[in-house]
């Protein structure tokens, strides 16, 4: 095609860079600087897609992100669904097609990269139109650190569509000069960047599109989008306004678009939107569009104005250009299939219609007035009020923050004034200023504030920025906003939501939300159905729920509801604006938290050794722990069997470095631990070790582990791997908030030390050999004691604890030497058959001994008594955390589940963990629900027992030892005998070797 609708000159496009692109399979040409929409229109293509429900042809209806119609799917270079032709920049290699309301997710992987960047500024200005540029410049001149963010490729906003003189220059020059000065003053100026949300304390989130405009010239794996998290002390919202349509019969045909958008296409892109144009307006703004188009050589057939009173200036302007002006008239219908061919108008006095008159036209420009783009302001908690004169919701700036609080909640707990007085406490921060809270510190300027004249827009921005500078305590010299022409004395616009009829139920082609194919008739039906709330009506009709989130339809819909139901607009209100302002790609929000960076992988000092020795890993919290080390194609069962045999019969070694370690120091350390643990720690002797259990205040077990007394006033507390951070937090909470009088200090030592249990009958030999200075004999180094020694002059601590029932020495050293220690233990142990084992073998060994794992054999409903550990609950202590809860009714129930062992009758059958236990003898003909007596928490195949076995939490378990119970496995009953939970070496003879 030939761009036959391109003007000979003008527009902010690069005419010497032609770009061809593919739309609906046809190659078309446009220029660099075009959007897909402007390039299509330059070739006379209005019809972009069909509507979602009715399949009606739809065209470009606006020039920006408010367009409800021009949905496309990009197929190359970067496939992406649900884009707007009006916001996609023309780029090399672009191909796209229209979509009827639903996109298709590309199935190929997304090779692009995304990231997040944080920015801290004094002032954030959102929108680089005249108000925003002026505000940014003033602030930068006063020395503020400023960020200026705008969603378009070019700064200028409204000025790009509306050439004029400003600051003594033409607007194009003024924009360039201003941008140059901003750059010189190190303003962070981001174009192609949409602020999509405003949050508390001056936080703005924006998405920057970095490469799409370069199309196939950009590497597929380049940084495509960046989320900016901008923390600003003050923010000025200068986001402009969206033009409002008027709803009338068949108002959705391709060729019908907003009047201001036509002017944008003409002046910014050098595109005439048609050959033969009519204009339908309720206000003055559309006249400029009509005149600009006429002056660009477009035939303007008529201007239809719903008002009776129209300014002389406009009447004269139309007369000079020979454009017929129909005042007090409305468009009542249109014709055309894939493009508008004619329109019908009638005189209308608010109640009755005159006779019909028709104009042939391929294009109809519509203006129902303007809605300030208050989305961000509303998101941040700014209140809106309905302005009768503008027919729009505008910022309600008289409202203070306390009223915002009240409006959000309905009621506040304390009188508003008191809250307000307290709202700005003195900052304890080293920061100079306290950022604003909610709408405090948020100003709105320009047409976003309802200031539609250029001069009043600049004035409002000037006022906003000067207030911000005062708040920032930045001196500024007296200045005035750039000189512009006096604003024209506007004749008030009429508020006309839709062209009515006797029965709104019949208005089935009066489209309110074109994207949803929702009409005035739908609204009328909703109201007839008894609905009064705008929220209900919108849900009934689905208005405002589509891709554009009702940017053009929201206010109009409220207006129509008000009109049909007879309610006042101000009492109906509008629905709450919710982030994001425009849709944001999931991948952009994910940033670089993808793949292996999705969540930290925590590893121990010997992780590489585990990998080199073929370990299979298990995720435990964020840690990677070796689960088993298969050799020569072993499966898990074989590897675990080999590992457990080694630990029971020779010697095994485990990387236990992930266990939490907390150093507890201070004169009251013993007292503190007595309050925390269920048993007594204060009687522990230096050099000795005690096992302990911690409960919540509800009496349920939350963690367990061993405690080493290292000095009179010092203990080393071991926690579970998963519990390390939680337990430290728990201890700090009690210490700081409840017992600040206790002289105790807590410090984490989890990663300071590596800990390697060396386990099995030959462990003494290994330890004795590697640490010749240590007497590892049972007499010199008894069970539940620890000793310090050295390896190559490096201190090593060895503890005689056992989580397997075997003779065991847990060896700890500064983690720097972890790998050295580990390899020397392995080397030394080689002749004793030392075998590294993983968490799975560890589980088999501990379960054979009936040692529970908190979080596996407990679930937050289990007390120490339930675990058969009444011995760990002190009777002597007056109190400890959880003690009082043991006396509650539920704790005395004989229906409590208690930890027991299970031996399946068939020792080759493994009862899966999680299996439920029942007493019924057969599942055949059993009716649900079937009573469950408990469930299996741990289950393993034990070489030592020569049988499978399980641990289970069983109702009344401690009184049922020796009884039979059935586990339900794959719909079959698997009989087992209930035993003590300690199944192996009940006498505990092995621990001393």
């Amino acid at each position: 095609m030939t761009q036959q609708y391109r003007t000979p000159t003008g527009g902010h496009i690069t005419r010497d860079t032609a770009l061809s692109f593919e739309f609906e399979g046809t190659l078309i040409e446009g220029y660099a600087g075009d959007t897909l929409a402007s390039a299509l229109l330059s070739n006379g293509v209005h019809h972009v897609t069909t509507s979602i429900k009715f399949g009606r042809p739809r065209g470009i209806a606006a020039a920006g992100s408010e367009d409800p119609n021009g949905l496309i799917q990009i197929t190359t270079p970067i496939p992406e669904p649900m884009q707007l032709a009006t916001t996609v920049e023309l780029a090399p290699g672009l191909s796209a097609h229209g979509i009827p309301g639903q996109g298709t997710l590309p199935t190929e992987p997304d090779p692009a990269r995304y990231d997040t960047a944080h920015l801290h500024v004094d002032l954030l200005v959102i929108g680089a139109g005249p108000a925003g540029l002026n505000a940014a410049l003033e602030a930068a001149r006063a020395g503020a650190r400023v960020a200026l963010v705008d969603e378009q490729p070019l700064p200028g906003g409204y000025l790009l569509s509306t050439p004029c003189m400003i600051g003594g220059a033409n607007s194009t020059e003024w924009i360039a000069q201003t941008a140059a000065e901003l750059a010189a003053r190190a303003v962070i100026h981001l174009q192609r960047t949409t602020v999509f949300g405003l949050y508390d304390d001056g936080l703005a989130l924006a998405v920057e599109r970095r490469t799409d405009h370069r199309g196939s010239d950009a590497a597929p794996d380049s940084l495509r989008q960046r989320i900016w998290r901008i923390r600003a002390i003050r923010t000025i919202v200068a986001t402009g306004a969206h033009e409002r349509p008027i709803v009338f019969a068949d108002n959705d045909r391709p060729g019908i678009l907003l009047a201001g958008s036509a002017r944008t296409f003409l002046n910014r892109f050098g595109v005439r939107v048609g050959d033969s144009v009519t204009v339908f307006t309720t206000n003055d703004s559309a006249y400029s569009s009509a005149f600009d188009l006429h002056d660009a050589g477009v035939h303007v057939g008529a201007i239809i104005d719903s008002r009776l009173v129209i300014g002389t200036e406009w009447i004269e302007g139309a007369k000079i250009r020979g454009i017929p002006l129909h005042s007090g008239s409305v468009v009542t219908g249109t014709s055309g299939d894939n493009r508008l061919t004619s329109i019908t108008l009638r005189r209308f006095n608010g109640t009755s219609f005159g006779t019909a008159e028709s104009y042939e036209a391929d294009t109809l420009l519509v203006s129902g007035g303007w809605n300030p783009a208050v989305h961000l302001y509303s998101q941040a908690g700014g209140m809106l009020r309905y302005d009768e004169r503008l027919g729009a919701f505008v910022p309600h700036r008289e409202v203070d923050a306390a009223d915002v609080a009240a409006s959000r909640s309905g009621t506040t707990f304390v009188p508003h004034r008191e809250v307000d007085a307290l709202r700005r406490p003195l900052p304890r921060s080293h920061e100079k200023f306290v950022p604003h809270t909610g709408v405090d510190g948020l100003a709105i300027a320009g047409s976003a504030a309802g200031k539609f004249g250029l001069r009043e827009a600049l004035d409002s921005s000037h006022k906003a920025v000067r207030e911000a500078l005062v708040d920032l305590r930045l001196a500024h010299s007296p200045s005035r906003p750039p000189e512009v022409e006096e604003d024209r004395d506007h004749t008030p616009g009429a508020v006309l939501w839709f062209v009515p009829s006797d029965d709104p139920h019949k208005l089935t082609t009066h489209f309110v939300d074109m994207q949803r194919d929702a009409t005035v008739a739908d609204i009328a039906h909703a109201i007839s159905a008894g609905l009064r709330s705008v929220e209900h009506v919108k849900r009934y009709t689905t208005i405002g729920t589509a891709h554009d989130q009702g940017k053009t339809s929201g206010t109009v819909a409220s207006g129509i509801v008000a009109e049909i139901s007879g309610e006042k607009m101000s009492s109906l209100g509008t629905t709450r604006f919710r982030p994001p302002y425009t849709p944001v790609a999931f991948a952009a929000l994910a940033g670089r938290a993808r793949g292996h960076l999705f969540d930290p992988v925590r590893v121990t000092a010997i992780h590489d050794w585990h990998i080199a020795h073929g370990a299979e890993f298990e995720d435990v919290g964020q840690w990677k722990r070796p689960r088993y080390y298969p050799r020569n194609g072993e499966d898990m069962h074989a590897a675990v069997k080999r590992e457990t045999i080694a630990a029971r019969n020779a010697v095994g070694i485990l990387d236990g470095s992930t266990l939490g370690k907390i150093d507890v120091q201070g004169p009251d350390a013993a007292e503190f631990l007595d309050r925390i643990y269920t048993n007594i720690m204060s009687t522990l002797k230096i050099g000795s070790i005690r096992y302990g259990v911690m409960c919540g205040v509800d009496g349920m077990v939350i963690d367990d582990g061993t405690v080493l007394r290292t000095e009179e006033d010092r203990f080393l507390v071991y926690t579970t791997t998963g519990g390390a951070a939680r337990v430290l937090d728990w201890l700090e909470e009690w210490l700081q908030t409840e017992w600040p009088e206790l002289r105790v200090y807590l410090s984490s030592a989890t990663e300071h030390l590596v800990t390697f249990p060396v386990v099995g009958p030959r462990s003494r030999a290994v330890i004795g050999e590697l640490f010749p200075d240590l007497d590892a004999s049972n007499e010199a180094f008894p069970f539940m004691t620890w000793r310090d020694t050295k390896l190559a002059n490096i201190p090593v601590r060895i503890a005689r604890v056992s989580f397997s029932g075997e003779l065991a020495y847990e060896v700890s050293v500064l983690s720097w030497y972890g790998l050295e220690l580990w390899t020397r233990l392995i080397e030394t142990g080689a002749k004793h058959g030392i075998t590294p084992y993983g968490t799975e073998a560890m589980h088999v060994l501990r379960a054979e001994k009936g040692y529970p794992i908190v979080g596996q054999d407990t679930d937050g409903t289990v007390t120490p008594q339930d675990l058969g550990m009444s011995w760990v609950v002190s009777k002597k202590k007056l109190d400890f955390i959880g003690k009082r809860s043991f006396d509650r009714a539920a704790n005395r129930d004989d229906t409590r589940r208690q930890l027991v062992g299970l031996l399946p009758d068939d020792p080759t059958k493994l009862i899966p963990e999680g299996s439920q236990l029942v007493t019924i003898e057969s599942l055949d003909h059993a009716t649900v629900p079937i009573t469950m007596d408990g469930f299996v928490t741990s289950s393993y195949d034990s070489h030592a027992l020569g049988s499978t076995f399980a641990l289970a939490l069983l109702v009344g378990g401690s009184t049922r030892l020796g009884e039979k119970i059935n586990a339900v496995v794959n719909g079959e009953l698997l009989p087992a005998t209930i035993t003590n939970h300690v199944l192996f070496d009940q006498e505990g003879v092995r621990r001393d070797g």
Partner: protein
């Protein structure tokens, strides 16, 4: 350019009936006043009419009907809870869901597309087995599927072993699914209104009328209303009401966020939930991806949450569903969920005669709607707790006989 395209499949929802409900002027007295016009309040009214023949009922709503959590939830319906008491209640509700469209004569779009609860760690696998096995013995359709099974049911899920938290398997409930929340609420409202129940909107309850230890009505911002019985179905706002009577209720009101993408062609055939990465996602009837995350960490009535939770959710979504990378976040919002210490609801009588409590549903309220409606209606009508809600009495926090869905690490939602 040929431009004829068919209508977009699935884009059109079923039409609503031509009439929904009346907006009557409140009377001075009703046999039963229900505080809260959300799903629970409306369902309770419906079943008071249907099962107990009580029609002199007012449902008092401070805003617009079903405009609270009913309008904000992600509509997942399932019954595969851990404990017998929970399962019994939710399974009863699920059976009612299966017949609800006929009962209400309203197209509620109950789509039994199945729910997968992913397990990413060995402990999650154990917990999942435990829950599945308990579900089966409680008569709930539940099964364990391994990673291959997950891929078969939902090919979109990244079941690669190479991801940060590989999918080890999932529990699957085929009868679980989603429904269209507005349609459900409106169905109940329409039935109730047609039976003569007064649905009173834009009316805030400010307190209670009492005589001694008996509640005799409510105070509102418009006028006092006498009532034979008063039933609370006010979710997160319950404690602000019970506080006026000195009844302590152990709930905390927290924001729960949700979000939707734009409309996409059907790609996601089921519902996937993952506790480990804090995500659940389904594709609603019109084609939007509906997603939620965990409850926000601190108390708040503001119906908004913190955005970092959404960012984390997006990372989880792209990790689990690589194909979602180029879907777009269209809208995010939050509801206010009332959570209890044991993550189970509180339903039943109160220390005040004729005052009945229903709150603490956390993230489970929507799926329980019809079941709760029946049980609460029974409790109100007879004055004694329905067997299904009896375990969920307020005094369990004193006895310690909790129904600890939270402690047992069961998945939310």
């Amino acid at each position: 350019m040929p431009m004829t395209k068919p209508r977009t499949p699935g884009a059109e929802l079923p039409a609503h009936p031509t009439f929904l409900w009346e907006s009557p002027t409140p009377k001075k007295r009703y046999d039963v006043v229900i505080v809260g016009g959300g799903g629970h309040g409306l369902a309770t009214a419906h079943y008071l009419v249907k099962n107990h023949g009580i029609t002199d009922i007012a449902v008092i709503e401070r805003g617009w009907l079903a405009g609270g959590n009913m309008a904000r939830n992600t509509t997942i319906i399932r019954s595969n809870y851990l404990w017998d008491q929970s399962t019994a209640l939710y399974e009863y509700a699920l059976q009612l869901w299966e017949g609800l469209e006929d009962d209400l004569e309203y197209p509620i779009l109950f789509s039994q597309r199945g729910v997968l609860n992913l397990a990413h760690t060995l402990q999650e696998v154990r917990d999942s087995h435990r829950r599945v096995e308990a579900n089966k013995l409680n008569g709930v359709d539940a099964e364990w599927v391994d990673a291959d099974g997950v891929r078969e049911l939902c090919p979109l899920v990244n079941t690669s072993r190479d991801i940060r938290y590989p999918v080890l398997g999932a529990t699957y409930q085929p009868r679980a699914g989603i429904a269209k929340h507005d349609y459900v609420a409106w169905g109940f409202a329409r039935k109730a209104s047609a039976a003569g129940v007064h649905l009173i909107q834009d009316t805030s309850v400010t307190g209670f009328l009492t005589t001694g230890n008996r509640v005799t009505g409510i105070r509102t911002n418009r006028s006092d209303i006498s009532a034979g019985r008063v039933a609370l179905a006010a979710a997160g706002l319950t404690s602000t009401l019970t506080d006026t009577l000195g009844i302590r209720v152990p709930i905390q009101s927290r924001p729960l966020q949700a979000l939707v993408s734009e409309l996409l062609e059907p790609v996601h055939p089921t519902v996937v939930m993952s506790n480990a990465v804090h995500l659940y996602v389904s594709q609603a009837h019109k084609g939007e991806l509906v997603m939620g995350a965990g409850v926000d960490s601190y108390t708040g009535y503001g119906q908004r949450g913190a955005f970092h939770i959404i960012e984390r959710q997006m990372a989880a979504a792209v990790e689990l569903f690589p194909v979602f990378a180029r879907a777009h976040l269209l809208r995010s919002w939050a509801g206010t969920v009332d959570v209890t210490p044991d993550a189970s609801p509180i339903v039943g009588p109160t220390p005040y005669e004729n005052l009945f409590l229903n709150c603490g549903w956390g993230t489970g309220g929507f799926k329980a709607t019809p079941g709760l409606g029946v049980a609460f209606a029974h409790t109100i009508a007879t004055g004694t707790p329905h067997r299904l809600v009896a375990p969920f009495s307020l005094d369990r926090f004193v006895s310690g006989r909790l129904v600890d869905e939270h402690g047992a690490a069961a998945v939310a939602h």
